[in-house]
Symmetry: C2
Subunit: 141 residues, 2 copies
DNA sequence: TACATACCTGACTAAAATGGTCAAGTTTTG
DNA sequence: CAAAACTTGACCATTTTAGTCAGGTATGTA
């Protein structure tokens, strides 16, 4: 199981963004240069972040992006959800009333995978952008 | 982030295998039928499990596979490691002394991803095949 | 000893996901 | 009006996944 770079980049970009005063918009070009992420790719990512109301955009010269919420209220869950980075441990369609693999019963390890999914998601729910900022300050000493 | 079916199948197959008396070998054909996993694919998986000394093979008629260890000593970590299912949250080369993305410093969220990796791996280290067997008995009541 | 069963090995491949690039805009400020 | 910055959507090369296929080899039983 691996984290995709879309999810990773989204978090990196938001931490970068959050480190600046939220009154002055930060341009994607700046983030691109500082974090070494392609500008075109960042645009895709921020389009999604905007749709999910995590950031606001300000157009025109001197424009850029600004956080749309308090860093404390932006959890990793929200970020990952926005860019379609999801935790998926089973193939089975959860909506269908049937069990896994088209069989009548749940697969033998179904509970395990559910537990795993919860375990990982708990981590994401408990981490906010603010936590990351503080962490970063600490390690910068 | 998602679990690959190779990892998922490996665990499913081993739970299936462990449910039977470890003296009577279980053929891959039986596991294939019961779990709905392609026989050819199972052979690939069991080849790796055998190399990692998680199972033993018994050839010939009435042959099959048997656990090579106590179910209590087979952790999810061991299984996943055997079939090359690994948890990867960063792209960066851990061996290189340099930071991430070829830059001089560690990327801004590096600590976060390390934490996440540890969080997930802890889950795998704390779950044994035996835990899954018990769980399965419980839910069968 | 024949033969069926089951393990064993390696090459091959279709489809999906990943990780982007490219092109052509629109909006706003100096 | 020109430049900076956001906006949108199509496109694509590479890699990974999730297998299949084709041939083996070993061994227990009739």
């Amino acid at each position: 199981m691996k984290l995709t770079s879309k999810g990773r980049y989204a978090v990196m970009a938001l931490v970068d963004l959050a480190r600046f005063d939220s009154i002055n918009p930060v341009s994607l070009r700046d983030i691109s240069l500082r974090q070494g992420i392609s500008l075109d790719y960042l645009e895709q990512i921020f389009s999604k972040l905007k749709k999910n109301e995590i950031v606001k955009s300000i157009r025109g010269t001197q424009g850029g992006y600004v956080l749309n919420k308090n860093p404390n209220d932006i959890k990793l869950t929200n970020i990952f959800h926005a860019v379609d980075e999801k935790v998926k441990t089973v193939q089975c369609n959860k909506d269908s009333k049937r069990g896994c693999n088209g069989k009548a019963t749940k697969c033998i390890t179904h509970n395990l995978w559910d537990e795993l999914e919860i375990h990982i998601n708990t981590f994401f729910e408990n981490k906010s952008l603010n936590d990351l900022l503080n962490k970063n300050k600490e390690t910068r000493v």
